[in-house]
């Protein structure tokens, strides 16, 4: 357990009889920036809430810094920084009062770092939180979380509502934080270019299941999109496992396959295609292929195995 800052085993969560998380096995090593991706309602925020002890899991284990997340002691909570989706800061408090509250209740507080962030974001200290724009609330929330110098920083869609400049500032700060020894970040975002920029490992959730869990570069290498053209009618189906998506148009078939390897290449070659072209994919394209409702879930998905894993 101790080599991972976050570890869940067969984590299941039901809400009103509906399965939101279905056997999640998530492992986030120390010093890693982990990008957790998924469409709306895929279960990202639920995982985070369970990890923070705000919500109990229905079944399975969830550990943060080696401790069960439902009973996180104050000493462990003091090592976690959290930026919530929607930035749920107390709306009727002034910025100054929220800052004082954080100072008083945090295990550590870096006044120097916080001052730097406040000056960078130009946050008005006397204004009420409810009077701040969504972007300013995001900046305040981020500044507060970062000033506590957390060992683990959990960010739930933190750049939502930020303009391009602020987003860039945020990403640079996140990179600065990670560059300090031993910092780990769990990062959920809908802005995949942000994740691509800073994450070194990604997980993708689809309908409550973790369908991808591997290093970003590894995933880009192993998830392949191929345009295959045949001289005649293409075969009805390919005996290749882990096909994520398939599109047919006349003699042309475009297939996206997970865990691409020489063995799968050999199988494809037996159909003697006229040409086979590799189409480069961005993280966004991989995400769409893996999480779109129309995509074919490979056999391994159904068995609960992610495309790539540790």
């Amino acid at each position: 357990m101790s080599e991972y800052v976050i570890q869940t085993e067969n984590l299941v969560k039901f809400f009103d009889g509906r399965c939101v998380l279905n056997g999640i096995d998530l492992k986030v090593p120390e010093g890693c920036i982990y990008g957790l991706l998924g469409r709306n309602g895929a279960g990202k925020t639920t995982i985070i809430r369970i990890l923070l002890g705000l919500e109990p899991g229905t079944r399975g284990k969830s550990m943060v810094l080696g401790v069960s997340s439902w009973q996180l002691p104050v000493s462990v909570l003091g090592q976690i920084g959290y930026v919530a989706e929607g930035h749920n800061l107390i709306p009727n408090y002034s910025v100054r009062r929220i800052v004082e509250l954080y100072k008083g209740l945090s295990a550590r507080w870096s006044e120097q770092f916080f001052r730097r962030l406040i000056e960078t974001f130009r946050l008005p200290m006397e204004r009420k939180v409810s009077q701040l724009s969504r972007g300013m609330r995001a900046q305040l929330n981020l500044s507060l979380a970062m000033a506590t110098e957390p060992k683990l920083l959990i960010l739930d869609d933190p750049t939502l509502g930020l303009d391009t400049v602020s987003r860039r500032q945020f990403l640079e700060l996140a990179i600065e934080l990670i560059s300090r020894n031993g910092r780990t970040i769990l990062f959920c975002s809908h802005i995949l270019s942000d994740v691509e920029r800073i994450a070194d490992r990604v997980g993708m959730l689809r309908a409550g299941k973790l369908v991808v869990d591997c290093e970003l570069e590894e995933m880009k290498r192993r998830v392949r999109k191929l345009r295959v053209i045949f001289d005649d009618e293409p075969p009805r189906e390919f005996p290749i496992t882990e096909i994520i998506a398939q599109k047919r148009q006349g003699r042309e078939v475009t297939i996206s396959v997970a865990n691409w390897n020489q063995h799968k290449q050999t199988i494809l070659n037996t159909f003697k295609p006229a040409s086979c072209t590799d189409i480069p994919m961005t993280l966004e394209e991989i995400f769409i292929e893996c999480t779109a409702s129309g995509s074919n879930a490979p056999v391994d998905y159904e068995q609960g195995e992610p495309i790539c894993s540790h």
Binding site: V74, I80, L101
Partner: protein, 209 residues
């Protein structure tokens, strides 16, 4: 812990101001009666008792508002992500409630001190007996109202919180009017306080924020 208690007091300062105003009104009334020679043993019992009765609205109101606004503004959802346990958040809330109820006892304190200083009461009504006879029931009643509010306020429905707190407090008030203070009432109040506190704490400590 101190930060949490201060936060509770600042957030609910209107209730503290209300309790203080009420205490001032009843103190003024007492001194006016004292000046006009219109106070007797009945005044000793009646003034703080009525003070607590009016305070009942403030006490139960604060309990309900603390819990209701906590859910609505997701205050504990924020606090619980800092280096604070749920038990501490709840304890700070209750300590703020106890402080509020103590403010309700200010007139009683004044009456007792004045009585002792003026030596105008019989030894039987001296400070030794005044406290167990008046301050304990008044404190228990006020604190019970607060706990009822605390228990009723943990709902997402504003009307349920308000009516629940007020309704239960009035039932309690009626029972005391009928039965008058006695050991049975003490037992009922202690039981009610324990039940409300345990239930509110259990709901709070196991809730999904």
């Amino acid at each position: 812990m101190f930060t949490l208690i201060i936060r509770e007091i600042e957030d609910n300062r209107l209730f503290f101001i209300g309790a203080l105003i009420l205490a001032i009104i009843f103190s003024g009334l007492f001194f006016w009666m004292l000046y006009n020679g219109a106070y007797d043993d009945v005044t000793f019992a009646a003034l703080p008792f009525w003070n607590a009765m009016f305070g009942m609205l403030i006490f139960s109101g604060m309990g309900a508002v603390q819990m209701y606004l906590d859910r609505r503004r997701k205050i504990s959802a924020l606090l619980a992500t800092l280096a604070v346990s749920r038990n501490k958040i709840f304890a700070a809330r209750v300590i703020a409630g106890i402080l509020l109820v103590f403010i309700g006892l200010i007139p009683l304190l004044e009456i007792t001190v004045t009585a002792v200083l003026a030596r105008s009461v019989e030894p039987a009504h001296s400070v030794r007996l005044l406290y167990p006879e008046i301050s304990i029931p008044v404190f228990l009643l006020g604190f019970a109202c607060y706990c009822i509010g605390l228990q009723a306020g943990w709902t997402s429905n504003q009307l349920t919180a308000a009516l629940g707190a007020l309704g239960l407090s009035f039932i309690l008030f009626s029972v005391i009017l009928i039965k008058v203070f006695g050991w049975e009432i003490y037992a009922i109040l202690v039981f009610l306080i324990s039940a409300c506190l345990i239930r509110a704490w259990y709901k709070f400590s196991t809730a999904a924020f």
